[in-house]
Amino acid sequence: MTITEIPAAATDETAWDGFTEGPWTATIDVRDFIQRNYTPYLGDAAFLAGPTAKTLRTWDTLEREYLSVERERRVYDVDTHTPADIDAFPAGYISADDDVVVGIQTDTPLKRAMMPNGGWRMVETALHEAGKEVDPEVKRIFTQYRKTHNEAVFDMYTPRIRAARSSHIITGLPDAYGRGRIIGDYRRVALYGVDALIAAKNADKDSVADQPFSEHWARYREEHSEQVKALKKLKRLGESYGFDLGRPARTFQEAVQWTYFGYLASVKSQDGAAMSIGRLSAFFDVYAERDLAAGTLTEELAQEIIDALVLKLRIVRFLRTIDYDQIFSGDPYWATWSDAGFGEDGRPLVTKTSFRLLQTLRNLGPAPEPNITIFWDENLPAGYKEFCAAISIETSAIQYESDQQIRCHWGDDAAIACCVSPMTIGKQMQFFGARVNAAKSLLYAINGGRDEVSGKLIVRGHEGVKGSEALDFDEVWAKYDEMLSWVTATYVEALNIIHYSHDKYAYEAVEMALHDDEIVRTMGCGIAGLSIVADSLAAIKYAKVYPVRDETGLVVDYITEGDFPVYGNDDDRADELAALVVRTVMDKIRHLPMYRDAVPTQSVLTITSNVVYGKATGAFPSGHKAGTPFAPGANPENGMDTHGMVASMLSVGKLDYDDALDGISLTNTITPSGLGRTKDEQVANLVGILDAGMSEGLYHANINVLSRETLQDAIDHPEKYPNLTVRVSGYAVNFVKLSKEQQLDVLSRTFHESA
């Protein structure tokens, strides 16, 4: 609609001294600023500094006084009287040492705040589970006076959506919690200062003032007003800590602090499932290089500042229910920090600050957050690739995504929201769609819409498979295709309702204030259970599968005779069935109406919902047992990828990214000795494996370097492993924070003894 221009009066020229000018000085364009000013770093990790005494003291205080207490009681504390907002709480600190990068969500570290706009019931349940009393006044406000997102959604839900939800064919929808997966361009706060951002938003808002009324026009103006109000609160947040965020940042430390305040404002006002922070390293590095050249910064201080920021990103907390924890276990918030990759001009976006970010895992020890995500390419500088691999081997805390796939589709200033969802920063957001149970849909197809667990008829008008003959592939496929039409239509209908309502009742004002005025929206649909469907279809096609019925005729189990190819072994016969399912689902989604003209996309990602999905699902022709966990994301079935880790990567790489633009997740575990005899050999081999996988079409690789014995010992002696980090499905968790059930699920996955 308009170009987001910066009114000249609002900028502070001195903050930009020494920077190369370009379009970014006249309009909001952080990418242009980075490209004109950053310095790629092609060397190795030798320049890095260890933690300062202050860093270690702060981390120690945090661990001793807060984190260890939280591990004991699950929730450290909750403020039950103050609904959260950007400026709802006074300043808070970890300790007197906490003065490098400041700001926490409430007035005390780890103390959680209520965010009732998503729905009151969630808040009330979470408070009870945390052993807290509800403040009746707050309850009255959010049940009598203020309508919530959750209430609005249920006002609109249709009978078929309710049926699909209660039978668990569609679950985990963001209809009672914040949707997340929106990345504000927090760098704008530092580069331009909040005053300039407010002026630009006001200019955008009034640029349409003369147009005639339409609902789109009204929403545009109202949302801009909300954004401006949020930016004003952001300024007040800065003031409460003694900073003037109105002006641009002048130093590296300020650039980090300003950017963090932008992010902090988001996590103070929204409890979205994934609150990712974007792609910051090259941006910060421009300031670091300027200060280092001027002699006002040393490597030790630069590292101390990044360590301080990362420490803050490790202590974001939201008030969640135990139920929620079943879907997203381990209290994650996906402060995903994307890094590396290439610019469109062919220069690597690897800077010294990319190294400093990884160094935090040594200086502070491993931790699941921020969710460090490396955009990998074979041609990244060798020193950086080796450092990534070394840190992966030491911590299992890094995930990798294909830079080429992301850059070719979303440009070179994209970042991951959550686990695998790419978006161009400040120009794109996602309507998060959780996922449908594609595996259960196959059982519905065979049973003509009856639920295989409850026996209830959920989907009318579908005829199941008759008789006791071996299943016929063509017949089953035709029925599955029809069932997927029903499932996807019901699913997208729910998503449209949810996002319509979320925009209206739980609008992410500060995150959207850090976006352009006109943006791309994607509808991030997803599927769970892909490997089970692929293997089951392969069994039906290549072996003999006989249905086993109960007394009501419901197919409750299968007898499979003969061999069949299995997904995950680089066997086209099975892998192509997996790719076919992904393509078929996507084709159906593409033809459905989308709220706010969203671009339909799909992910093959389960997060940790693979356990709950499995629990609600029956037995399969593949031999997958009723009630047992699905494999995570696009992973082959646990223990069925028997031809090595690279073979399983190649199978997953055959899924077409164009059919799953929201990402395809693969989580792998290698034992340390499976990578080589010496650390150098292990590093070289991990680099080679990532190069091989990504060059063969793999989109995402979550790499754990762990042994089963370590995990078993951690289950038996959790006190010995407070920081054991495990990548589960697009994110990492503290292993000891998982439920027993989820721990056993991780333990049952394939461990590649030799990669």
Binding site: P565, V566, T642, M645, A647, D691, E696, F751
Partner: protein, 291 residues
Amino acid sequence: MSSSHDGAPVVDLSTPLVGGSTHRTAGQGTQGLLNADFDRPERLAQVRTGQLGSLHSWELVTAVDGPGTRLTVFLAGCPLRCLYCHNPDTLEMRRGTDITAEELLKKVSRYRGVFRATGGGLTLSGGEPLMQPAFIGRILRGAKEMGVHTTIDTSGFLGAAATDAMLDDLDLVLLDVKSGIPDTYTRVTGRELQPTLDFGRRLSDHGVAMWIRYVLVPDLTDAWDNVEVVADYVATLATVARVEVLPFHQMGRDKWDALGMRYELADTRPPTPELVERVRGQFRARGVEVH
């Protein structure tokens, strides 16, 4: 997969669970390769000319069967009967699956990108690859024509079956020297030591790089003198790039039971870390790289 059955010794985590043809448990079948189906006379003709091989399984593995990520093909059939064999299911050729050379080379070709990215290649293991010399000769030639790094993992007992042309097509040989004292060698394998020594000498003279492997089994191959003889021999070979001392483990035990074969080492424990270090030290004293 790690062993989890009751009573299985827990393998020390610092000890790589890797090894030669008789040490590392072989893969899981030939999924993804088209089975050949010939009538009997035709099949024999194909075997004789090396157009058909008997395979146990394939795997894409890293860091175990040579450098980088490798397509390791386990061939069926072995002339040795090692007491500690971890893949007794590869001992007999008749248990294998018929796969044509053309089909296997297609697979090698498919993984050229993987080999390039990881510095890997093709490893023919087993069983004993030299049981099928015509077949592996054809495969190694085909791989070299594609520029793929080639390795065989062998006991050397059938080294005489390797032609000089085959040696030209080999970038690396993983040579398992199972003992240094002839009587011990025979006790371990049921065969004579000399052919292995001859083959190693020939590889060295021919300029073919070698990794020597020594499986360390308490009370069987661990005697000081038995190791000394191997170490002395290795020191005389010009092309040995490294020696790998592989601690015995019990991961193959279930397979012996499943095949109804008598397993003599059921009560043998893995070597202690001190013993492994002692043996590595014996090799290290000859100035070679030892793992």
